[in-house]
């Protein structure tokens, strides 16, 4: 490729974890100093001390080759099998794992629904191993044989995790600059950022990653943006105490999108547009879940996609997934059921199983999960 066009200097603007995470990510993607990562650290401090990392964080940790031990020791990592979301009607657990098993062309909840409507099955959560473990405060890193598929993320100490990422980024060549006293973004006539001016330093840049929170951008008297404009890319600022896990998730996803569309100095519009298309899709899917949890199924304006999810689920117990979902099907199931919906109908395919067989099957899944959770609890006590 034309060497002159390659991006060689990236400046990240942000605070703490929100800046160190992109710094570590890019440092891992560009070894050998091919691209200098400078981090302009603005003032302010985090107020939260515990962070939830959704299961997809593990891909990021693989990229960094982050040792499990460091996560546990420095970031106080604990396994997590679900998100505890606050909803209008109380807490709802969105599990990181499947409900039962799909069988003969029908999804598990369809089988459950038939029995539940007859009063012959308990809550759907009893058939989810991840939910069972999360409720019991027990953990497993692997799905035991013959159990519904299980995934896990982490609960992390925000300060400890930040320290890990900082050490990684620094160890791979990233340099930080203190901008607690303010900084100035200098652009050319086309609106492209050329330098970041600090007291005592002018940082030239080919690209800027603005990782400040929306609130920080507003406080600085600027207009926040969600996507990528010119050579400046704003990291998503999904952060919500009622629905944990989104901040780390959306930072890593944004960086995955960026790296898959990594530009050169030409900054083609089609690359930005594709990035933004995926970014807006993520925002919309997140917003649908927030709306559902906050307001329940009625009494608020819903996007078409959310209205469809509610109506399809109410009618048939199916999850009408869109392209680029953030939350998995089990999480949507938990949220919709948690909001009090009982589907009016179940799939007719389910009727192929005799009621006796169905009940026996459901009982065996419930038993299996119950036993596995007890063993995991015991193991946790022993450790």
């Amino acid at each position: 490729m034309e060497a002159g066009k390659a991006i060689r200097r990236v400046v990240i603007i942000g605070q703490g974890l929100r800046g160190w995470l992109p710094a570590a990510y890019l440092a891992a993607r560009f070894p050998d100093g091919r691209c200098q990562i400078n981090f302009v650290e603005t003032g302010g401090a985090r107020t939260d001390d515990v962070l939830l990392a959704r299961p997809s964080i593990r891909r990021f940790h693989q990229l960094l080759q982050m040792p499990e031990r460091a996560l546990v020791e420095t970031a106080k990592a604990q396994l997590s099998h679900g998100v505890r979301a606050r909803a209008a009607g109380g807490a709802i657990l969105l599990p990181f794992g499947q409900y039962g098993y799909d069988h003969a062309g029908a999804e598990f909840q369809q089988y459950w629904c038939r029995a539940f409507k007859m009063g012959k099955a308990g809550g759907l959560g009893r058939y989810n191993l991840a939910a069972g473990l999360a409720e019991a405060g027990a953990f497993l890193t692997q799905t035991p044989k013959g159990q519904p598929a299980l995934d896990f993320g982490y609960q992390l100490s925000a300060a400890g995790y930040c320290a890990l990422l900082q050490a990684y980024a620094r160890g791979h060549g990233a340099v930080s600059f203190d901008a607690a006293d303010g900084f100035e973004v200098r652009t050319d006539e086309g609106g492209f950022v050329k330098t970041i001016h600090l007291a005592g330093a002018d940082l030239e840049c080919d690209m800027v990653i603005d990782a400040r929170t929306e609130a920080d951008v507003l406080a600085a008297g600027e207009t926040p943006d969600l996507g990528w404009q010119g050579n400046r890319l704003y990291m998503p600022s999904h952060c919500d105490a009622d629905l944990p896990g989104l901040e780390l998730y959306s930072l890593v996803e944004a960086l995955d999108r960026l790296i898959a569309l990594w530009p050169d100095k030409d900054f083609l519009a089609c690359e930005r547009e594709e990035y933004n298309r995926l970014t807006y899709a993520e925002r919309d899917r997140v917003s649908d879940m927030k709306t559902l949890l906050e307001h329940g199924v009625i009494g608020v304006t819903q996007s078409d996609a959310l209205a469809r999810k509610i109506s399809v689920f109410s009618n048939r117990g199916r999850i009408a997934a869109e392209d680029h979902e953030v939350f998995t099907k089990p999480e949507w199931l938990a949220a919709l059921i948690g909001c009090g919906i009982v589907p009016a109908h179940y799939d007719r395919l389910v009727d192929r199983m005799s009621l006796e067989d169905l009940l026996r099957w459901l009982a065996s899944i419930e038993d299996g999960i119950g036993r596995t959770v007890e063993q995991a609890k015991l193991a946790a006590r022993v450790v």
């Binding site: 490729m1 390659a6 993607r29 560009f30 070894p31 050998d32 091919r34 003969a104 062309g105 790296i259 898959a260 569309l261 990594w262 050169d264 083609l268 089609c270 690359e271 547009e273 594709e274 995926l278 469809r308 109506s311 399809v312 009618n315 048939r316 199916r318 009408a320 997934a321 869109e322 392209d323 680029h324 979902e325 109908h345 799939d347 007719r348 395919l349 009727d351 192929r352």
Partner: protein, 504 residues
């Protein structure tokens, strides 16, 4: 709608591929739930039956309804299919294969084609085809079922079938009847609508017999006896983008080795197909009647046959597009009655299968099913639209200027959704990401590169690896693909050795 009642009776009209696939699918999956399934067909009405080439999804359909592969292959004179060869599309003299599988192996999260793009001018690199196991197998006329072990290079492909569609329907008929489907011989002369709600109540046969049902499946082909003639659903025409509107088909004697792929050769006003079956070769010419005559199209077909014709050529007419609602009132249109996107990428049977699968997933309990129908239509529409864009790409990405047809296709306006996809690929080899849609990255890649849409630049993360390392890795892959393909069985011999050969 009048008071909702339980759906107990499904009536399928039409006994071609769509009709019997629907009957077999419904009977296998819902037959045990007290659903009565009736299929009405008339021997006096011919079936189209040229949909002979399929996509790998068909294997899933056959497997899920419990069809034995060897029996099915013998009964339908089927052969295996690992891809589709496109000849003369980007420009005269070109040939590429759209494989049912991957190219190379991705590395560090970067698609293999970026490595290839960087190295493509190196004398040792050669065409991208050399890095695809299914393409290499196609070129050597080899076949072997893929491996389930994801670590094996033998897991990098899937397969479909090429079969005699006139034999597939009767084969499925036996399967469906054994699972309780009732077949009625007779021609439908009238469709009776409920005077109050407008739903279909029953159909009247020529014999005077009246057959009622709760849900009707229209498999009457282009005619759309229920969905259009009775319910006047309307049709969305896509002829501006896909102007081919006729096909002439003829079987001929086979010549040469039995190839595990279908061939689509671009002609002056359309394209010709060649589908190798066990006992004969299926041929056809799809063309746009605005740009050529029936006689010229037939001549182009006959002149290019590899063996003696085995029947008189038959002409079919169609309009590309889809029904405005494939599920309208209590009628679901499956097959050509629902829409037609021309056979270029073997999507006809796939779209039938999607229609059946989604109907099973949304199968209504009662006649109050407007929500089910709405969701069904949304999903099917999406499917049609994404296939449509992919088909248009084949016609549009060309430098051919040797006929009025190709000049038109090359310069026409294309849907914005497709223009964006092409631009993103053209600049740096990126393929637009969707979670769903029939054709995934390797398919788009095959057509882009095969038809001269070559990115200006590759993903520059490739530069992180030393050129010598990339070259070494690629040489290794190329030789692995070659060796693995060469070690497969001869396609024709595999069929015979595994009891899949049918009586001619």
């Amino acid at each position: 709608m009048s008071e909702a009642k339980q759906i107990d009776n499904v009536v399928i009209i039409g006994g071609g591929t769509a009709g019997w696939m629907s009957a077999a699918g419904l009977a296998s999956m819902l037959g045990g739930t007290g659903l009565s399934i009736t299929l009405i067909e008339s021997e006096a009405i011919g079936v189209v039956g040229v949909g002979e080439a399929t996509l790998p999804h068909i294997k899933f359909f056959n497997d899920s309804i419990g069809i034995n592969e060897a029996e099915f292959m013998a009964a339908t004179s089927a052969t295996f299919k690992l891809g589709i060869e496109f000849v003369d599309w980007g420009r005269l003299g070109d040939s590429y294969i759209h494989p049912f599988g991957e190219y190379g192996l991705s590395n560090a999260g970067i698609g293999f084609h970026h490595y290839w793009l960087k190295q493509k001018d190196h004398p040792e690199t050669g065409p991208l085809d050399l890095y695809s196991l299914p393409i290499m197998a196609c070129r050597m006329a080899k076949f072997q079922p893929p491996s389930a072990d994801p670590r094996s290079v033998m897991s990098t492909y899937r397969y479909a079938y090429q079969f005699d569609a006139l034999k597939y329907a009767p084969f499925l008929r036996k399967h469906a009847e054994a699972r309780g489907v009732t077949r009625h011989e007779g021609k439908v002369v009238e469709v009776n609508l409920d005077p109050e709600c407008g739903d279909i109540q029953s159909v009247l046969l020529e014999s005077g017999e009246v057959i009622g049902g709760d849900l009707f499946i229209d498999c009457t082909g282009f005619f759309g006896l229920l969905i259009e003639k009775a319910l006047e659903t309307g049709y969305e025409r896509w002829t501006d983008w896909l102007p081919c509107d006729r096909a002439v088909a003829v079987p001929c004697e086979s010549a040469g080795p039995l190839l595990p792929y279908t061939r689509a050769t671009a002609d002056k006003a359309g394209w010709r197909w060649r589908i190798p079956l066990q006992h004969r070769t299926g041929n056809g010419h799809v063309y746009a009647s605005d740009f050529t005559t029936d006689a010229a199209a037939e001549q182009a077909l006959m002149e290019n046959l590899e063996g003696a014709p085995l029947a008189d050529p038959r002409v079919l007419r169609f309009v590309t597009g889809k029904r405005r609602k494939l599920w309208n009132r209590n009628c679901v249109a499956i097959g050509l009655s629902g829409g037609f996107l021309e056979p270029l990428e073997s999507t006809s049977i796939y779209l039938i299968q999607e229609g059946i699968t989604k109907l099973l997933e949304h199968f209504p309990h009662t006649t109050d099913f407007s929500d089910d129908a709405e969701e069904y239509n949304r999903l099917i529409d999406l499917e049609f639209e994404r296939v449509r864009d992919f088909l248009i790409l084949h016609y549009h990405a060309t430098t051919r200027a040797d006929s009025e047809f190709w000049t038109h296709m090359r310069t026409m306006d294309i849907p914005a959704s497709l223009a964006e996809k092409i631009e993103l690929f053209k600049t740096r080899g990126r393929i637009v990401k969707y979670d769903r849609g029939l054709f995934l990255s390797p398919s788009w890649l095959a057509v882009y590169l095969g038809q001269g849409v070559v990115p200006d630049m590759y993903d520059n993360r490739v530069d992180l690896l030393a050129d010598d390392d990339i070259a070494g890795h690629m040489q290794g892959l190329k030789s692995l693909m070659h060796k693995s393909a060469a070690a497969m069985s001869d396609h024709g011999e595999y069929i015979v050795a595994n009891g899949m050969a049918g009586a001619a």
